[in-house]
């Protein structure tokens, strides 16, 4: 059933059979899944996709599964929201929100990558799966492992948000909290992956896992009426999402399903952890690692493995990388919630605040349209905004109290 030809190193071009592999054995770079696009082109029409159920498997020919999916059957095809009130507030002609804060089953874009990775884990015969995570991946692996009958080991930095810790434990996964930042968690997880024959979704299943990110790009294009956006703002942690959306857009053009276009990619980070935007601003793709210090924990990767390719994608597209302070992140969350009724987690605040900054500076053309990728749900990072929202008064259950406190006018007693 698969259209996969092989895995190929993104740097040196060496090819590998499609097996569980963490990186190129010659130069350590990530491996890319390469498909037989000629055969996909002759077997599939985009009109057929429109007839399929509203989940990410509607693009299954462009995903690396050999067999029919067994887990994650309801993941993906999240709303693309036309956000006119936010557009007015930002001062740009048109804004669309790709709203993965309502993804199934764990309310983040990570549901997509895990759906692909766990099906591959099953195909490869792994009974135990795992991941290192900044939180959302932990939730997604724990939930889908439970649904798929896998045993799961999840490795996280000990200081993650309580919502993300409880939202992992509830599924019965073994959660390993590690003293240290994500990069240190990764180091341990990588050693564990070398020793045990487990399917670690972001290590030896990474090439397949990352393919799930492409479905954000397919969906955006399909939901725009098979058209590529003029501009897209994408939050960056390891940097894989932005490069995979670029791959998705390239594939759609290759298949002739969308007109040739040149979308500009804008990468968004928090200033307290901005190795990729720092490189992009300096006009380079060489990443200098940082020690993260930000409330945006889901983006707090100081040593981004796909940073090189992310910066390259941004620069080649004529876009830009930009970062915002933690205060601006909170403002971004509030602006999105108050204009569009969507409560995003801190990464979404980064995306909105970076868009605002780019529009103000004129780097994002206000006569054009932009897609903002909202990757996760605000209910997972409550503490980030708990100090910023307006306090609410408690009153006695009396009409007069209500009118006095909330309507601001002293009431007259009625007989």
């Amino acid at each position: 059933m698969s259209y996969v030809r092989y895995l190929q190193c993104r740097l040196c071009g060496q090819t590998y059979e499609a097996k569980p592999l963490a990186a190129c054995e010659s130069c350590w770079a990530p491996l890319e899944v390469v498909y037989d696009y000629g055969r996909i082109w002759s077997d599939l029409r985009r009109e057929e996709i429109a007839q399929r159920p509203a989940n990410l498997w509607r693009y299954r020919e462009l995903l690396p599964l050999e067999e029919d999916p067994q887990v994650g059957l309801h993941t993906g095809f999240t709303p693309l929201v036309s956000a006119s009130r936010l557009a007015r507030a930002l001062g740009i002609r048109e804004v669309y929100l790709k709203n993965d804060s309502v993804n199934h089953p764990t309310l983040s874009f990570k549901d997509r990558v895990v759906a692909v990775a766990l099906n591959k884990a099953r195909e490869f015969g792994f009974d135990v799966v795992g991941c290192s995570s900044t939180g959302n991946l932990a939730n997604a692996v724990a939930a889908q492992a439970a649904a798929g009958g896998f045993k799961a080991f999840i490795f996280i930095p000990a200081d993650l948000e309580a919502e993300k810790i409880i939202g992992t434990l509830v599924y019965g996964a073994t959660l390993v909290k590690i003293e240290g930042n994500y990069d240190q968690v990764n180091r341990l997880c990588s050693e564990i992956a070398q020793k045990y024959n487990w399917g670690i979704v972001n290590v030896n299943l990474r090439s397949y896992y990352a393919e799930g990110s492409k479905t954000v790009g397919y969906e955006v294009a399909e939901q725009l009426g098979w058209r590529l956006p003029e501009n897209i703002v994408v939050p960056m942690a390891g940097g894989a999402l932005i490069t995979k959306i670029r791959k998705a857009f390239d594939e759609l053009q290759k298949l002739g399903w969308v007109e040739q276009a040149a979308p500009r990619f804008f990468g968004a980070q928090a200033s307290g952890c901005s190795p990729i935007t720092t490189a992009a601003k300096a006009g380079t793709s060489e990443i200098v690692p940082q020690k993260p210090k930000t409330i945006v924990k889901s983006l707090a990767i100081g040593n981004p493995s796909d940073g090189y390719f992310a910066s390259e994608a941004i620069r080649a597209s004529g876009g830009a990388g930009e970062d915002v302070t933690d205060e601006e992140v909170v403002e971004g969350i509030q602006l999105l919630a108050e204009t569009e009724g969507i409560f995003a987690e801190t990464a979404g605040g980064v995306t909105v605040a970076v868009a605002r900054k780019l529009i103000r500076d004129g780097r994002l053309n206000s006569n054009e349209s932009v897609v903002l990728v909202i990757t996760g749900n605000g209910l997972k990072t409550i503490a980030a905004v708990s100090g910023a929202v307006r306090e609410s008064e408690t009153i006695r259950p009396k009409l007069a109290d209500f009118e006095d406190v909330f309507l601001g006018s002293p009431t007259e007693a009625t007989a």
Partner: protein, 92 residues
């Protein structure tokens, strides 16, 4: 002075299956030289032609990324443990 280097599985074809290697290397450049002298060809996987570590290879000295310790200028101490680990995806 001796340091230990943990060799990841993909590189053990160079070390005859050995996962833990002891060496007297003083710094990164010296480490690449000494490992290549003992295991011919391994340098090409660890470093680029100009002697820098491969872009997607992370090198840790004990618990710290070597780039935070001065990179090529970092001098190893007796008992240091060197880890060679590919960059790993994640986040968002």
């Amino acid at each position: 002075m001796a340091i230990t280097v943990r060799i990841p599985p993909p590189l053990r074809k160079y070390t005859a299956g050995e996962g833990l290697v002891s060496t007297s290397a003083q710094n990164l450049r010296d480490l690449f030289d000494k490992l290549d002298a003992r295991y011919p060809g391994i340098r090409g996987v660890l470093a680029t032609e100009d002697g820098k570590p491969q872009r997607f290879l992370n090198i840790y000295v004990n618990d710290e990324d070597i780039r935070f310790l001065g990179g090529a200028d970092c001098n190893f101490k007796d008992g240091d443990e060197i880890l060679l680990i590919p960059a790993i995806a994640g986040g968002v």
